[in-house]
Each structure stands twice: as C-alpha cells, then as structure tokens.
Symmetry: D2
Subunit: 148 residues, 4 copies
C-alpha cells in the first residue's frame, strides 16, 4: 500500500467507471486518455445513430460528449454526476464519421464544476461544443485503502 | 387530392420522420401524440442505459428529449434540425423507469424556433427539463402534392 | 409574534431583497407581484439601454429576467443565488418598450432549483425566455423571530 | 481608398460599435483589444451594481460578457446580434473588483457563430464563463467604400 499520484487516481477512477458502464461501451466508445480533470473519448457513427434527415441523431453526439464529461469529472475518485449541460451543434455528423470528444475542466469549487467538451470529426472539424455542470455526491468510485 | 389540415400535416410529418429513424425506434421510443408544434414520446429505461453510478446515463434522457423536440419542430412538413439545446437534470432516473417527454413550441419566428421539453417518470415527477433551438433548412419531409 | 404564511414570507423576503438592491431599482424595475416561487417585475427600456444596432442591449433584458428569477427563488427567506442561466432572445426590444418578466419555479430539490422566466413587451409578445439555476446558501433574508 | 486588412476592419468595426453604444460605455466598459473574432473588455464593479446579497448583480457580469461577445462577433463589419447565451457564475464578484472579459470565436459558419467569453477578476480568478450564439443580419457597421 502506498499513496497514489493524481494520475494513478485518474486512471483507476476511469477503470472503475468503465467496468460498470454499459451505456458508454455499448455505443462503442473508447477512452483514449484520462488525466486529472481531463478525458478524451472516441466513437464511430454507426447506422442506428442516423435519423430521418440522414445525419447522426444529436442525442448520440450529446451522449459521447456527456460521457467524456463524466470521465473528466470523475478523475478524483469522488462520485460526481451531471446537473446539466448545454450543447451547440456546429456541423452535421454523418454515417461512419469518427468522432473524438475532449473534455477539460474549466472550474472546480466546492462540490460543483464546469467542464468544456469539444467534439471533432476525423478531419479535425469541430462538430459540437458542450458545457457541463458537475455535482459531487458522497462516496468514492473505488477503495483507496490499498486492499483492492 | 385536397388541402390538408395542420393536424394532418403534423401526423404525416411524424410518419415521415419515424419511417427513417432507427435512432429513436431502436431505443424503444413510442410517439404517443403529435400536434402542430407539439409532441409527446415515451421510453422505458433498459439495462444498457444504466451507467456506473447505477442511474440512467444522461445521454439517453437527453436523446429522448431531443427526439420529442425533433418531432415537435418537424410538424409543419419543413425539414428542421436542432442547432443547440440545454438540459437540466432534476432527479435521478433508474432502471425500468417509464419516461415521458412532452415538447411544446415556445417561439417560432423566421427560420428559428425555441421548444421546451419536460421529461417525467411514471410517478409524474419531473426528472429533466430541456430547451432546444431549431433551425429550418430547405426541403420538406414528404410530398404534399397529393400523389403520395 | 405568530407563524407567518408562505405568502407573508414571500412578501417580506421581497421587501428585504428590495431594500438593499440598488442594482434592480436603479434600472427602474418595479416588483409587481410575488408569491412563493413566483415573481413578476416590470421595466421600461430607456435611452442608455440602447446599443449601436438601435435595439436594447441584451444585457439589460437579461438583467431584468435575472432579477425576476432572484425575487422568485428568494421567496422562502433563505438566501439563494444564481449559479447560472440561459437566455434566448426571440424578438428585438426597442426604446420605450415596457417589459414584463414573469419568473416561476420549475423544480426545487435540496439546495438547487430551476426557474423559468418569460419576458414580454407591452403588446404581449415574448421577447426572451430565460432559465436560471439557483443555489441556496446559509442564512436568511430577514429575522423571522417576530422581533422585527 | 485601399483594401483594408482584417485587423483594420476589426478596429473600425469596434469604433462604429462604440460610437453608438451608451449601453456599454455608461457602465464604464473599456475596450482593451479587438482582433478578428476576438475582443477584450474591462469594467470596474461600482456601488449601483451590488445586490441585496452584497455581491455584484449577475446581470452586470452578464452584460460585460455580452458586450465582449458583441464586439468579438462584430469584427467583420457585418451587423451581427446575439440569438442567445449561457452563463455560469463560478465565484462571487464584489464591489471595486476589476473585471476583464475575453471573448473568442469558437465557430463561425453561414450566418451563425459561437463565442466563448471568460470573465476574470483582478487576481486572475475566473468568475464566470459565458457562451453566446450570434446571428448575422443584413447590413454593415460602417461604409467600406473609402469615403468615410
């Protein structure tokens, strides 16, 4: 047993998040990187995400951004949930697009935080910007005592 | 061939939306009612929507609200997309919850509109409020000439 | 000394708010009505509120809505502040317009709440919709012991 | 008469904005810098901006951010207005605080844009983040023909 670095906490928090998260994994999301207050996720747009206008349903773009936000605000091993979010859709997203969502902490004070997420496609174009507000609850994501 | 009422336009628009929308139907959404500028959808929270905090991933709550918004702003047979949205999560959503999303038009001027969506659970409790901004594109959802 | 009704609490809270609020009164705002979770304010658009596009600066429309929100969420004699807000501008506001802002509580749970504000002009047209998130702090607006 | 650089356009646009803008100047705002898609403004918090909680009314913080946004999105000599905005208040603002608002363009496509504004105090602490959506109208801010 030994003290863990902030980076170790971030990685173990992400592992704990992923292990019980069918919501994100079922959509094919991959967690590419986590650091304290930061996360980058990737997702490919597949057929069932397409709506009647032949573009990706905004709900899936939001869900990717929201997951990146969740991973970023849960890098301190403190259970943290979203209290709300705003999204602006900047460009249409199409079938087979490879989306990347980068979430970074803008502010964290008391039990609330603000995180910005930028979603880009495979050509590096910004397709959406998202801003989430987080709220920390009681409890931790995993046991830090060293026994686990 | 005959002129269609606003209510007929709303219902035919919803049919056209649904027919090509795997995004909403795959999640089990049911369109319960459409009127000009209004839509009510229902969705049951199933296992794959649950995240690591044992509550429904906010992305699925957003997706339901966003779909209700899409049906409400596409009741005039004019292709209309979301330019952005804000969501506030008011209460946790659990496995097996039956969610209802009611979307109603608050404003429509020029090519842009504002729609409010309230998401309630089976006990009538508000679990989320959503506000979407719509943007009308060129084109219609179905052929109004009477041939179809 | 006697217990106060919710309506009395609301009115005394508004009085306490107003007595120390040069921000709202200096802009000519009038509090027309308060009830628990509700407030209606009025403001006339004067010359210094006009911007270079010859319409009212959005900041003043926001400020009116934000004040209505503040009065509505401070009707329980508990010090409550805004943690954030969203505004959508629906129609231009001109010199001499008489604006009315009605704020009503959508949700209140724990220490946070969500309030909707609709701003209308003298012709009853909606010129803006606002949604504010409130956060309750420690402390009360006035002494409820009956001595005051 | 000669073609103007993007920077010259930005500066002349800001001049045209300022010359007819009592809304911003009356609050003591100073435009410190403009570049294409960017603006930085400064404002000191004075007594009449203080509310009954002894902090700066959120409306004035919003108004500063909204003005920075307006200057940033009007740097191309095309009349551009706000269609909406979101603000998150991160820390209280007090009497005599020196606020700086930096607005930068996140996206600009067709007639709509998204701008982020960060408001900091004299100690460099972020007190608010703001995200505005712009909408370009017909018309220009000043005559580019060279006669003026």
């Amino acid at each position: 047993m030994h003290p863990r670095s902030a980076q170790q906490l971030a990685e173990l928090s992400a592992e704990a998040m992923l292990s019980g998260d069918p919501a994100s994994t079922r959509l094919g999301m991959v967690v590419e990187e986590v650091r304290p207050g930061f996360a980058r996720l990737r997702m490919t747009v597949v057929a069932y995400m397409i709506n009647s206008h032949n573009i990706c349903h905004g709900g899936y773009v939001f869900t990717l951004a929201d997951s990146a936000f969740a991973f970023a605000c849960n890098t301190y091993n403190r259970v943290t949930v979203a209290s709300g979010a705003t999204i602006d859709f900047l460009a249409p997203v199409y079938l087979d697009d490879e989306l990347t969502a980068e979430a970074s902490e803008q502010a964290l004070g008391g039990r609330t935080g603000v995180y910005d997420v930028v979603v880009t496609n495979q050509r590096g174009k910004n397709v959406a910007v998202f801003r989430g507000r987080s709220h920390r609850l009681q409890g931790s994501l995993f046991d830090e005592s060293g026994k686990s």
